[in-house]
């Protein structure tokens, strides 16, 4: 009974995160300006991190936590780099 409840909630979160990634992809394709696309890509990174966390709960494995932390770090660095590029036209000045 409790395993069924957990299984249902994990599947629900999977569907929600994948739907959020679909919305972000639509905004990434349709976004009228470049900063819209950077914002959508940042949200896509964060959704990938949440997907890794939920996969860690689903398979009861600690390995996915490390993947989630790496995705968060890389997402932060890449978003900062792209925002700097939009602002100045170069990343390192």
């Amino acid at each position: 009974m409790m395993a069924a409840l957990l299984q249902f909630s994990i599947h629900y979160v999977f569907i929600c995160v994948l739907l959020a990634m679909l919305f972000c992809t639509l905004r990434l394709i349709a976004g009228p300006s470049a900063h819209d696309r950077v914002l959508a890509l940042d949200t896509l990174w964060m959704c990938a991190m949440q997907l890794a966390l939920v996969l860690g709960i689903r398979y009861a494995s600690d390995l996915y936590f490390e993947a989630a932390m790496l995705i968060a770090l890389l997402g932060f660095v890449s978003t900062i780099a792209m925002a700097k590029f939009l602002m100045r036209g170069e990343v390192i000045e």
Binding site: M2, F8, V13, R27, H35, T43, M46, Q50
Partner: protein, 124 residues
């Protein structure tokens, strides 16, 4: 799904509630990113996806692994602290770039640039 059977009811119900709340918040934030009309309104949508949705999922993960391994597991707090530090920085950088680009493109009718409140700094 052997691992899920080892979770007692008093822990399974909070984990399920936290997961469902987190998933709903995530999809609401992404829907805001897709549906809002203006960039300066759209930047508010992903903020709850990143902070509150991830916070709920991290809480559920902490509770789940603590009960599963029968000891306190709190390394998810690293991700929580990192996100709380970086989410405002990312939002501020993207917003500054957007304001700068809108001003430079002469769009004086959107968001922060409306009403000629802000002007480009003069380049000498």
């Amino acid at each position: 799904m052997i691992a899920l059977d080892a979770i007692p009811a008093w822990a399974a119900i909070p984990v399920a509630v936290l997961l469902i709340a987190g998933g709903s918040i995530i999809v609401v934030g992404a829907l805001g990113l897709l549906r809002l009309p203006n960039f300066y309104q759209r930047i508010h949508g992903p903020a709850i996806t990143v902070t509150l949705g991830t916070g709920f999922i991290l809480l559920a993960s902490m509770l789940f692994f603590s009960v599963l391994r029968s000891r306190v597991i709190a390394h998810e707090l690293i991700i929580a602290a990192f996100l709380l530090m970086t989410a405002p920085v990312v939002a501020m950088m993207i917003m500054r770039a957007a304001v700068y680009r809108d001003l430079r493109a002469g769009k004086h009718d959107t968001g922060a640039a409306s009403g000629e409140v802000y002007r480009l700094p003069r380049k000498d």
